[in-house]
């Protein structure tokens, strides 16, 4: 099932200036089934807003999001979401967290326990099934959140800078671990990040957004098979291209849109 985003437009009322500020104008792209797409852009350009609209958590002012032939108008289990900070129900053990979505679907106790444990196996967290979220580390929490999202078998997985709060080594490990999971499940993934290295390490394709008001500025294919070498010249070449794009965008913001540099990032409030 392909994901078709067409003509998304979103504006916010700015408290400080008392007028509408466009966050996104006319964002359109198509993600074929099973592709790993990274979305990158200057900070505060509305990446999170874009992801939230695709998930149905926020409504666009104009434009549509189609999953297959169904329009997304509200949160649905077909579109999983991983937040920046791991979101787990703190009063449930890890396995009971993973069971949550299945419980909502009315699945029998025995069956959902089996599925939840299998999902935890997939993210290599089986041994921590009976721990409470507060008892495990940040990286493990994010793995648990991943299992929680994957267990309901979404068609698309949206990830909003999921590893940003982890330390560098854990982040590298989590990227590799997530790739392992992805290769087993082959979900369509839209992965938002501001980290260029992360984008080129993970994505089949990279969508670069312009600075605000954001639209698709550049699309790149990363034709390098996994596992990738973070320091390989091919990867660096793509990195450089993106970095140049981002630098140009920053420059544009400063000269044309200088006033927006003061605007607090409304999309991430």
């Amino acid at each position: 099932m392909e994901l078709r985003v067409s003509g998304l437009h979103k504006s916010f009322s700015s408290a400080s200036e008392g007028e509408r500020v466009d966050a996104l104008i006319d964002v359109s792209f198509v993600v074929p089934e099973g592709r790993f797409v990274c979305v990158i852009g200057p900070s505060g350009c509305g990446k999170t807003t874009l992801l939230r609209m695709i998930s149905g958590l926020e409504k666009p002012d104009r434009g549509t999001i189609l999953l297959g032939d169904r329009e997304i108008t509200g949160p649905v289990r077909e579109v999983g979401y991983i937040f920046q900070e791991p979101v787990l129900l703190p009063w449930r053990t890890i396995v009971r967290n993973v069971e949550f979505g299945l419980e909502m679907a009315g699945m029998a106790k025995q069956e959902r326990r089996e599925k939840a444990l299998a999902a935890l196996e997939l993210v290599e967290l089986r041994d921590f099934a009976d721990f409470y979220p507060k008892e495990i580390s940040g990286g493990m929490k994010q793995k648990a959140a991943l299992a929680m999202a994957l267990v309901v078998e979404p068609k698309v997985l949206l990830m909003d800078e999921p590893f940003v709060s982890l330390d560098c080594q854990t982040r590298n490990y989590m990227q590799a671990a997530f790739l392992g999971v992805w290769e087993k499940t082959r979900k369509t993934v839209i992965f938002v990040t501001h980290n260029v290295e992360e984008a080129v390490f993970l994505g089949d394709e990279i969508i670069c957004l312009t600075s605000r008001p954001a639209e698709v500025g550049k699309r790149l294919r990363v034709g390098i098979p996994h596992p990738r070498d973070r320091t390989s010249p091919e990867l660096n070449l793509i990195r450089k291209e993106i970095l140049l794009f981002l630098a140009a965008e920053r420059e544009k913001t400063r000269s044309v849109n200088g006033m927006f540099t003061h605007v607090h990032d409304l999309s991430e409030v």
């Binding site: 949160p75 937040f83 009063w91 949550f100 909502m104 409470y132 929680m148």
Partner: protein
Amino acid sequence: MRLPVSTSIRKYFGISYGKRFPVSRGIREGKERKSVQRANKSLRFLPVFGVVVLWQAASSAGLIPENRLPSPVAILHGFTELATEGLPPGYTLVGHCIGSLKRVLSGVALALASALPLGMFMGYWGRVRDILTPFVEMVRPIPPLAWVPIAILWFGIGDKSAAFIIFLGAFFPILLNTVGGVMTINKRLIESSLILGAGKGALFMKVLAPAAMPSIITGIRIALGIGWMTLVAAEFTGVKSGYGLGYMIMTARDIQRPDLVVAGMAIIGVIGFAMDFIIRKMEQRVLKWR
């Protein structure tokens, strides 16, 4: 000056002698650590005990006149008298305790049953909150005791009106704590639940309620305290059955027996403490995930 007290007492009162004499900052393992913990726990009532001893000493020395504040021993005698003979005669202490407990618990239960769902709705839906807040904030400052005439008018003298007065006192702390608890929930938790297919019912029962539980329990603790305060005062106006700690205290006042008055006060204090203790234990069990 270095006080000649044991390590556990120093730890309990937080007395430290500065860097030169670090107080058990080192490592204690196994049995030793357990025994220190136990010693610390048993020391918790030491201050209460100490005050009672000092009080008795002052009374015996004639520093506190018996007609102003009865001595602990006199109060203890009063307590025995209340437990065996009763006040008024035949109405013994156990009956008074049960009578008051019943009123407090039914009033607080009523408050919980109504304030909890209402608080969850108000916490979740801003519109409901906007509409109801002015009413809540206007009724809340009215002391429950000001309602006594109305309560008697509506329910007559008896358990119903007492329960109503307690309900009024207990309602608002539970309501406000529930509203606050729901409002401060991490919004991502709600969004994540919606994505995973939670309907409104599941959202309230399986996400909002457990997430707000810590502050709901705080609300219940406050409500029980207020419940006792208002109950005793409400019973001053009279009870039908002849049982009730507040009523008992008033009777003791009428026959000019300060020892019985203070014994009654102490009993309320102990029951209040015991109830809070039970709730705190339950809280530890229910909220072990924190």
